[in-house]
């Protein structure tokens, strides 16, 4: 019954590494989103995509990039991980039309050491 799947629940990476976070949804949703959650800051939008190969910057895109080669898959890339990117990363999807909020994945807790 899982609808938005994030490939890893926990990740530990070293400073400077290139990190890939993967997200897959099986609901045929057009829109996909990447957020990070930090204490006291809530959920902040990093990037989103409203179609295959399309991407838009969110509120905090610096240090991140994304890839959407297939409709069901949306990848978040940390080009050179830094300790301030230690966070909970949440992927979400939503349909176009008949909208009633996002469906979130379970999250990836990333620690950069």
């Amino acid at each position: 019954d899982v609808k938005v799947t994030q490939s890893s629940r926990y990740l530990v990476k070293r400073t400077g590494e290139k990190v890939f976070l993967e997200c897959v949804q099986d609901m045929d949703h057009e829109n996909m989103f990447w957020y990070r959650q930090d204490p006291g800051l809530g959920l902040r939008l990093i990037y989103f995509s409203y179609d295959v190969k399309m991407k838009e910057k969110g509120d905090i895109p610096e240090g991140y990039s994304v890839s959407r080669e297939k409709k069901e898959r949306f990848s978040l890339i940390l080009e050179s991980a830094s300790t301030n990117q230690t966070s909970m990363y949440l992927c979400a999807s939503s349909p176009t039309g008949n909208w009633n909020g996002y469906t979130f994945g379970s999250g990836t807790r990333l620690t950069v050491v």
């Binding site: 829109n31 800051l41 959920l43 939008l45 949440l90 909208w99 009633n100 909020g101 979130f104």
Partner: protein, 115 residues
């Protein structure tokens, strides 16, 4: 610039009593509001929503109230149960842009329901 604000980071309530979670927003263009519930190590799950054309929406023990003039919404949980202990995020959506809805989230309120 925090457009959606939850000024109470935490709230403790006795089981059986009412929980009231508050949220304020600044952007008058928001036209749809939602509450999400999040348990530790899980993603947020949708709880209840309200359109800007309404002032109340009810779903079982959960009721959301919207006061557009005050740019304020609240979530009432009656009666509160220990399983309601979680972080609650208020969220607001821009008008539909012909493709997607952009949602802005608040900082969250951690609710603890004491048995």
């Amino acid at each position: 610039d925090q457009q959606v604000k939850q000024n109470s980071p935490s709230l403790s309530v006795q089981e059986g009593r009412i929980s009231i979670l508050n949220c304020d927003y600044t952007n008058s263009m928001f036209d749809y509001f939602l509450w999400y519930k999040k348990y530790p190590a899980e993603g947020p799950t949708f709880l209840i929503s309200i359109s800007s054309i309404k002032d109340k929406n009810e779903d079982g023990r959960f009721t959301v109230f919207l006061n557009k003039s005050a740019k304020h919404l609240s979530l009432h949980i009656v009666p509160s149960q220990p399983g309601d202990s979680a972080v609650y995020f208020c969220a607001a959506s821009d008008p539909f842009r012909g493709g997607y809805q952009k949602v802005t989230f608040g900082t969250g309120t951690k609710l603890q329901v004491i048995p």
